[in-house]
């Protein structure tokens, strides 16, 4: 299975929460910290379930999410 992680651009996010609704593996949760515009920015839980599907980034209106695929080194 693919492994991935996301980075949410703290200042670009507007707290619309569409990414949370989109995430099928529940790796994003509502955040408690506000950015300079006053929006509460969601947080990436990072519990190892993210599969780099990019659906959160696709739905994000602000292009505020970067998605990374984690590639294990060959043994």
């Amino acid at each position: 299975m693919r492994k991935g992680k996301i980075k949410i651009d703290f200042d670009r996010c507007k707290g619309c929460l569409l990414c949370i609704r989109e995430c099928k593996v529940k790796e994003i949760k509502e955040g408690k910290k506000a950015n300079k515009y006053g929006y509460l920015v969601p947080e990436f839980i990072c519990s190892g379930n993210c599969n780099a599907c990019t659906l959160c980034a696709i739905v994000c209106p602000e292009a505020a999410i970067e998605v990374y695929e984690i590639i294990e080194a060959k043994k």
Partner: protein, 248 residues
């Protein structure tokens, strides 16, 4: 262990916070257009025409040439630019008032002349910029600031299905209605937008994409609720899908 970036902000979208509300469809479509421009490698040929409406500041969000236009005259300004610079990729980006109200004649005649431009229509069933008044696309029964009792046909007429209206014109080659309420529909919307630009590049002709878009602020709903309203209510009246697709 290696981290490979597989999704990031498109280059043609400037690294600024867009002025749209949280969850607004404009932001999403701006992003999709920027992604399509990057993928097709046409940034240096692009000339966009911004409307009067929430997207009046579009020139601050895309990193390619964009001009203002008088309200509703957007596709006419685009037509002139395309006729003067036929090798450039020119598009008109408009909302409900700009395209279907004050600019209805301009929309129809540009389509009828079959100008080889791309038209992106953001349908959010109200006039956003000015505070949520009735639009030609407002649904029957929908409350707006100028239809506080809800739109009724006797006083306001019926909502206009612009894509269907244009479908009868010979000059129109491609019409599709899409939405951006979740990732799958956003992916489909991007495909339609890409096709509309490819049609221009391949000289197929007038191509029009209508996007059902949320306006959380004026609808008085959270972004997630707004997208549900599109899925359940708007889509009922404005069917999603291809209305016309004529290959050259």
């Amino acid at each position: 262990m290696e981290e490979k970036k597989i999704y990031s902000r498109p280059k043609s979208l400037r690294d600024v916070t867009m002025s749209y509300c949280p969850g607004c469809g404009h932001s999403t479509v701006h992003k999709l257009i920027a992604e399509v421009v990057d993928e097709l490698g046409i940034r240096e040929k692009m000339v966009g025409v911004a409307p009067v409406g929430c997207a009046v500041f579009a020139y601050d969000f895309w990193d390619f040439d964009v001009t203002e236009a008088p309200h509703g005259r957007t596709p006419v300004v685009a037509t002139a630019i395309k006729r003067v610079l036929p090798e450039n990729i020119v598009f008109s980006y408009q909302g409900d008032g700009d395209l279907a109200s004050i600019g209805m004649a301009e929309t129809l005649h540009t389509a009828n002349r079959g100008e080889n431009i791309t038209v992106i229509f953001i349908n959010n069933a109200n006039y956003g910029m000015t505070g949520g008044q009735l639009a030609p696309t407002t649904l029957i029964g929908q409350q707006t600031t100028t239809s506080p009792m809800g739109r009724d046909a006797a006083n306001y007429g019926y909502p206009i299905k612009v894509a269907e209206l244009l479908s009868q014109l010979e000059g129109v080659k491609y019409l599709e209605r899409v939405k951006v309420t979740d990732a799958p529909s956003t992916i489909k919307a991007k495909k339609a937008i890409k096709k509309a630009f490819l049609n221009q590049i391949n000289k197929v002709g007038y191509s029009f994409v209508e996007v059902l878009s949320s306006c959380p602020t004026n609808w008085g709903m959270e972004p997630t609720e707004s997208n549900k309203w599109i899925d359940e209510k708007m889509q009922e009246y404005f069917p999603i899908g291809k209305i016309k697709d004529v290959e050259k």
